[in-house]
């Protein structure tokens, strides 16, 4: 029965003639669909709109008022709406209505109608992003509106090459997605790949950036993110200028950047604002923190359960004295600590910021020391877990920092069964896996594998901007002139 109804609906939509009755029935006579008859200049007009999507003020002042006062019948000239288009079929008309347009039809001439934009807007103001903080970077973050996000990107990326391509995804509810790139910098191969992958998405509905990420990433079963999600227009813009592609999803403040390599996740806008050696130092710290967060718990387990001869003598005694009160194996001890820390972390996200601070102190300090005093964990274990979590927070991207937390557990298990040997095997597996990953066909672990020394300029270290005259291999189409510091040469030639 239902199937039949759907079928009849479809046929109605595809019907060429515009019919108010048809449109109403296709929208299931929803009660916020309003219509209004207006008599003007000996004509009867019917305005059809969805009440909840339309700004009443705009509708009245920009459409209805001019319509009543209209003296000739040229609608396109007389109405003040931003966008006017003609709708010749029911399908176009309905899509327009759902986007916040109102449909204007001359009574008696059902073949043609006008779609006039009068959409209500409840966009949030642009504010500082909360998850990706910087010290000196712009205090601007993406918002939920697609158009506003494109505006934010365009403002920081002024170029005629700035290209926007719009897609509508979802089969039962639709979501607009925009693909943005700088035409003169981007590799056409990548654009082709991204477009192909986006077009192949046949999800019912798009809930968030995550849905799109799941569908277009190269490998789903890996802890490493291959797409960069960001809230920062400056970060997105910098990546566009590197020849990458941005995907903006309507209703989501996170923008997807593709393709992303491993080292992309270690770059922050701050690196480029501070002087180069400081930027390089922080980037090095981030990489160091990543490694620490990955292997420190595993190393600790290996130390105290297999290889304590490598610990300095004085440390052995103090570790031993604290460990001897702990009834569990080191692996269990660390697991307890790690899991309780994950609990704290997860819980503090849901709390309002004012309580979260108190919670952090009570949860972290009080519980931590009490656990040691009660003999559930040792001082050593507590230090290790604290250091690990601090190191994982250094990573600027949440997705990447979660990947270490996930990878840490199997590594701890390996360390508990095989000691150093297990850690080496585990790290080797991770490295091999990293070298095999690709992001939109580009090697993920570049510039390490394949080795490309030229690209080290903006990965582990950040060299001064004027030295980055050759662009990375990801976008071979662009070369910056090596002239930014020509003044130095000129100055030294000047006679005094």
């Amino acid at each position: 029965m239902r199937l039949k109804r759907n079928k009849s609906k479809k046929s109605l939509i595809n019907q060429a003639n515009l019919s108010i009755e048809n449109i109403k029935s296709q929208l299931n006579h929803t009660s916020d669909l309003k219509d209004r008859e207006i008599h003007s200049n000996n004509q009867i007009y019917i305005i059809l709109y969805i009440n909840s999507l339309v700004d009443q003020e705009k509708l009245e002042s920009k459409i209805i008022k001019p319509l009543i006062k209209m003296e000739n019948n040229n609608i396109l000239n007389e109405l003040y709406s931003q966008e006017i288009s003609t709708a010749k079929s029911n399908k176009i008309a309905i899509n327009g209505l759902l986007d916040g347009y109102c449909l204007l039809i001359k009574k008696g001439r059902n073949s043609e109608g006008f779609l006039l934009k009068a959409a209500a807007s409840t966009d949030r103001e642009v504010s500082e992003p909360t998850t990706e903080k910087t010290i000196l970077g712009a205090k601007v973050g993406f918002v939920e509106s697609l158009d506003k996000n494109i505006y934010l990107l365009r403002k920081t990326t002024k170029s005629p090459g700035f290209t926007v391509k719009k897609y509508t995804l979802g089969s039962s509810t639709t979501t607009d997605v925009s693909l943005i790139y700088l035409d003169h910098l981007v590799d056409p191969e990548i654009i082709k790949k991204v477009e192909q992958r986006i077009k192949s998405i046949t999800l019912d509905s798009i809930r968030s950036a995550g849905d799109i990420q799941d569908c277009i990433e190269d490998y789903s079963f890996t802890p490493f993110p291959q797409l960069l999600l960001t809230e920062r227009p400056d970060r997105a813009s910098a990546n566009l200028k590197d020849g990458r592609v941005a995907l903006i999803i309507d209703g989501s403040p996170t923008v997807i950047i593709v393709p992303a390599t491993f080292m992309t996740f270690f770059q922050t806008p701050d690196d480029y604002i501070t002087r180069w050696w400081l930027g390089s130092f922080f980037r090095f710290i981030r990489l160091f923190g990543y490694i620490i967060a990955l292997i420190l718990p595993a190393l600790y387990i290996a130390f105290v359960s297999f290889h304590y001869e490598v610990i300095p003598l004085e440390l052995v005694y103090s570790l031993q004295s604290s460990l001897s009160y702990v009834p569990f194996r080191p692996i269990i001890e660390l697991m307890i600590m790690q899991l309780s820390l994950e609990l704290l972390r997860e819980a503090s996200i849901r709390l309002p910021p004012s309580i979260a601070t108190t919670f952090g102190i009570v949860g972290g300090l009080v519980v931590g020391t009490a656990m040691v005093e009660a003999g559930i964990v040792s001082y050593g274990g507590l230090i290790i877990v604290a250091l690990t979590s601090v190191s994982s927070f250094v990573q600027p991207n949440i997705e990447m920092s979660s990947s270490i937390r996930v990878l840490g557990f199997p590594l701890m298990l390996l360390a508990a069964t095989f000691g150093f040997f297990g850690i080496i095997i585990g790290v080797l597996f991770v490295l091999i896996h990293l070298s095999r990953l690709t992001s939109f066909g580009l090697p993920y672990f570049s510039p390490f594998v394949p080795l490309n020394l030229e690209d080290f300029k903006d990965t582990i270290i950040r060299v001064p901007s004027w030295m980055m005259y050759k662009h990375s291999k990801n976008s071979p189409h662009f070369k910056q002139e090596k002239r930014s510091r020509k003044w130095k040469q000129d100055e030294s030639e000047e006679p005094y």
Partner: protein
């Protein structure tokens, strides 16, 4: 299918391993000092200090140190340590033993009998220091366990600082093995004794070894420093003091900055080894002063050269008497004069060697005052 099988194998393998070499730190009793003795019956006796740091239950954070003295006897070193293992709670683990003491009786025998079991254990700290004592190791260790509780690695630091001052040869468990199995080279170990007056363990010199065993003779710190010069293996610091005149009671202290040795080996009736040693010294203590005058420098150089040459003569006589070729003349012969070596090689090849040392001192510096 193949993937699933592989996964299964990898999943089950860790569970199937029969011997799991996990050694939990909390279960182990780490040794920090061990000594070996030989008793009248020919049994080995191992004495060890196991150190415990206890966090007292009442007031957390308060750490108290206690030393536990354990001994075990057996026909071999391993048996003796097994005997200890049985008597302590937890696992007896020599991995952190940084110093080994050989009792006098053990040292006079073949010391490799003691070291063998240590070399076969992969966990033993190969950089451990070895020392010989004038009495039994047990006595020294008992004394240390009572008196040096708070001093950490007392013995290790003691030996190490002597090495820094060029008073004894830098020898560890690792390096001693090459000397033991080198037919043309001997070595010396720090010689510990208990000072009765101060009630403290001290290094009284360097014990001379011949082949695998202690000769019973030891060199005073001055003598061993001089010997280290002849071996060209001095450390950064090497301060010596000589009395210039027996009557005037004037003495000079000097630090040797660099040494250079020229060795000439000739076969006549015996093998003659002419060693010419040049020392560049810095005067660090000389109250009569006037070091700005060339005559004074000349006088000092001449006098010091003479004194040191005499001392060196006495030193090499002592070495010859004990057949202890610490200088490695045999090794020199093997390397550069194999024909001579062929004639004299054997257990007591040192009998055929006559050393004729000569020392020349050059004063290079006199500190920051003239």
């Amino acid at each position: 299918m193949r993937k699933n099988e592989l996964f299964l194998i990898f999943f089950i393998l860790p569970l199937l391993t029969g011997c799991w070499d996990e050694r939990l730190l909390k279960d182990s009793r780490t040794v920090y000092l061990s000594g070996f003795d030989l008793d009248e019956n020919g049994d080995y006796q191992t004495t060890s200090i196991i150190r415990d740091l206890n966090i007292s239950q009442a007031s957390r954070g308060e750490i108290s140190i206690s030393n536990e003295l354990v001994t075990g006897k057996g026909d071999s070193i391993k048996e003796a340590s097994m005997a200890i293992d049985r008597s302590v709670a937890g696992k007896y683990d020599p991995a952190k033993g940084r110093t080994l003491i050989l009792g006098n009786e053990v040292a006079k025998g073949d010391i490799y009998n003691v070291l063998d079991s240590l070399y076969r254990d992969p966990r033993v700290d190969i950089n451990a220091k070895i020392a010989v004592t004038d009495n039994s190791a047990n006595e020294i260790i008992t004394h240390l366990s009572e008196n040096e509780v708070e001093k950490g690695e007392y013995l290790y630091e003691l030996i190490h600082s002597s090495e820094i001052h060029s008073e004894i040869q830098d020898i560890t468990l690792r390096s001693i093995r090459t000397y033991l199995f080198d037919e043309g080279k001997d070595f010396m170990l720090p010689y510990l004794s208990k000072d009765v007056e101060d009630d403290e363990v001290k290094i009284s010199g360097a014990a001379l070894f011949h082949d695998h065993s202690f000769t019973g003779q030891f060199l005073s710190p001055d003598e061993s420093t001089l010997l280290l010069f002849f071996m060209e293996t001095k450390s950064k610091k090497a301060i010596l003091t000589e009395q210039l005149d027996n009557k005037d009671d004037v003495s000079v202290s000097y630090n040797v900055k660099s040494v250079s040795r020229k060795l000439k080996l000739e076969k006549e009736e015996k093998v003659h080894a002419d060693i010419m040693l040049q020392l560049d010294v810095e005067i660090v203590d000389y109250p009569p002063d006037h070091l700005d005058k060339q005559e004074m420098i000349n006088f000092l150089e001449k006098r010091l050269s003479k004194i040191l040459t005499e001392k060196a003569d006495a030193l090499f006589k002592k070495l010859a008497a004990n057949q202890s070729d610490v200088l490695g003349l045999g090794r020199e012969l093997i390397a550069f004069h194999p024909s001579i070596w062929k004639e004299i090689k054997g257990e007591n090849y040192y009998e055929h060697i006559l050393v004729n040392p000569k020392v020349k001192v050059n004063v290079r510096s006199s500190g920051i005052i003239l």
